[in-house]
Symmetry: C2
Subunit: 316 residues, 2 copies
């Protein structure tokens, strides 16, 4: 029995601050239909796919941004997307800002099956940027103000005939993200992102954004023998240009599909989940080759700690 | 004060089974001198740089391979390399098979300073391949027969005005290698390797050896903000072709020097260790952004474990 999942990576272009939720959902539905037309089983949308990337703005009270958060999912404005998925028999993965009844704010990613039923949810673990206004920046990256770190780690879900994990944006830069999912036998990792091209703390990295984006996902795919679907919200949004480069990456680390423009567009690949074993059962047979006793610092230590200074006499 | 270390990556071509230790040491000295001529502070040799890659052969008793191991370092045959390093005022890093007085067999890497004095030693943690004869393979990869796994993990050493870590061959494919070194603030990671182009368990990977080699080292460098020097023993050795592709990689993940042939050759780069902070203090500020509590599986679990099967009714 084949385990081919036809995955559509549904890149979004910019969403302006005044674009209504209804208008955005219409764009999502158009991409969902595009995926259905070519036979996709699953259409993956990016991080914060319902709104503009609002963490770029500082306001004294973060309540001022409450209209960017979803208090229920689906809610009245997003229900049509779920209905259309069920009608088309196509699953999807949707990124959005979540405001819980307890007042918690998470950067969330929801996996919905072909019946339009939520089957998995992920909340962002690695929150990048900063938490107070930094006016020296051309624009803010206040994710640490508007979102809290998820305490739930990286769960996996049985869906689409395989084992599916999720991650969001900055998570993809951390090798631990992929490894924790890999240790749960993940075969398909869905990653949505919003990545401004300008990195204020070190603009020398700006020109490398595209290189780094693919590098970390390709390494994560190869080192864990898993498919990865990285989906961007790209283009120039409210004056800030973000990386596109949506890509579907095989367990070999090879890119098998990618976008070449920065607007709303879907690219797809038929992902044979059985190919994961080519890596999981050979070079990356974790049970045979890993050495967890040598990895203790990874969980025992948070920040880097340099070894003691040597006596100058011993210097080379 | 600048912290530029001029590093030479001294790739070796094949070493035949009957090549004498004295002849090999002469080749190493020639490369050391080549590095000294252009002002290198440190010349990095590959894994098992004194012998042919003997784990490709099975013999009933592994004592039959004892002549490939060093019982002392330096010994009479390797002393000339240490003497020449001191004379030239150039450090080096040397890979060799170690047989301890207790009869332990390690795949070792020794860091020697400009005075010709050993300042750090690493023993391979991730031993790839297999431990018994597998005649179906065109050649063996019996590292797990001829070497034991080091219990010492990944230490770092203060040397060459920076913090230096080491790894060997298969270690470079594991993200944990880089992270454990990165958590000790490593700024320069030296990696020697012998990588046959033919991977018997899945020959579809053969054509990707070069891609994978650079991918894992570039990701490791970027994700930990460290320089990496990957040095091959390449070319066709005793009928087996191995990857060359020696490369020096910056903390940005960019390759700044690489070999384009497969013989004895040195390429070099002036590695400014202060550039590491461009990554270590920003995007990869571990103390600020890492989430060790979400990484527990990395040390708690060795092999991958899939989640329980869902009830079929719940399948998408």
């Amino acid at each position: 029995m084949s385990r081919v999942v036809h995955v559509g990576a549904a890149q979004l272009g910019p969403i302006s601050a005044d674009e209504s939720r209804a208008d955005v959902v219409e764009r999502l539905i158009a991409l969902l239909r595009d995926g259905a037309t070519i036979g996709c089983d699953l259409v993956v949308f990016p991080e914060l796919a319902l709104t503009t990337f609002f963490p770029r703005w500082y306001t004294d009270s973060f309540d001022g941004h409450d209209h960017y958060y979803e208090r229920e999912m689906p809610g009245p404005q997003t229900q049509p997307l779920f209905d259309e998925a069920a009608r088309l028999n196509v699953g999807f993965c949707l990124g959005y800002a979540e405001l819980t009844p307890q007042g918690e704010r998470f950067n969330a990613y929801l996996l919905v099956d072909k019946r339009g039923v939520a089957v998995g949810k992920y909340r962002k673990v690695h929150i990048p940027g900063h938490d107070s206004d930094e006016p020296w920046r051309p624009f803010q990256h206040l994710e640490r103000r508007y979102f809290q770190e998820s305490p739930e780690g990286f769960p996996v879900f049985r869906a689409f005939d395989g084992i599916v994990g999720m991650a969001l944006c900055n998570d993809r830069r951390w090798s631990e993200t992929y490894r924790v999912l890999g240790l749960q036998a993940a075969e398909l990792i869905l990653i949505g992102y919003n990545t401004p091209l300008h990195y204020a703390p070190d603009p020398d990295q700006n020109a490398l954004q595209g290189f780094h984006n693919h590098l970390v996902m390709q390494a994560g795919a190869y080192q864990n023998g898993t498919w990865i679907v990285g989906v961007a919200k790209g283009g120039i949004e409210e004056g800030v240009e973000s990386l596109s480069q949506t890509a579907i990456i095989s367990p070999s680390g090879q890119i098998v599909a990618q976008t070449i423009t920065s607007g709303d567009v879907l690219v797809s690949a038929r992902c044979d989940l059985d190919l994961c074993s080519r890596y999981k059962d050979t070079l990356f047979d974790f049970a045979r080759y890993r050495r967890p006793e040598a990895y203790r610092l990874i969980t025992e230590r948070k920040g880097a700690i340099a070894p003691p200074q040597r006596n100058k006499q011993g210097a080379s």
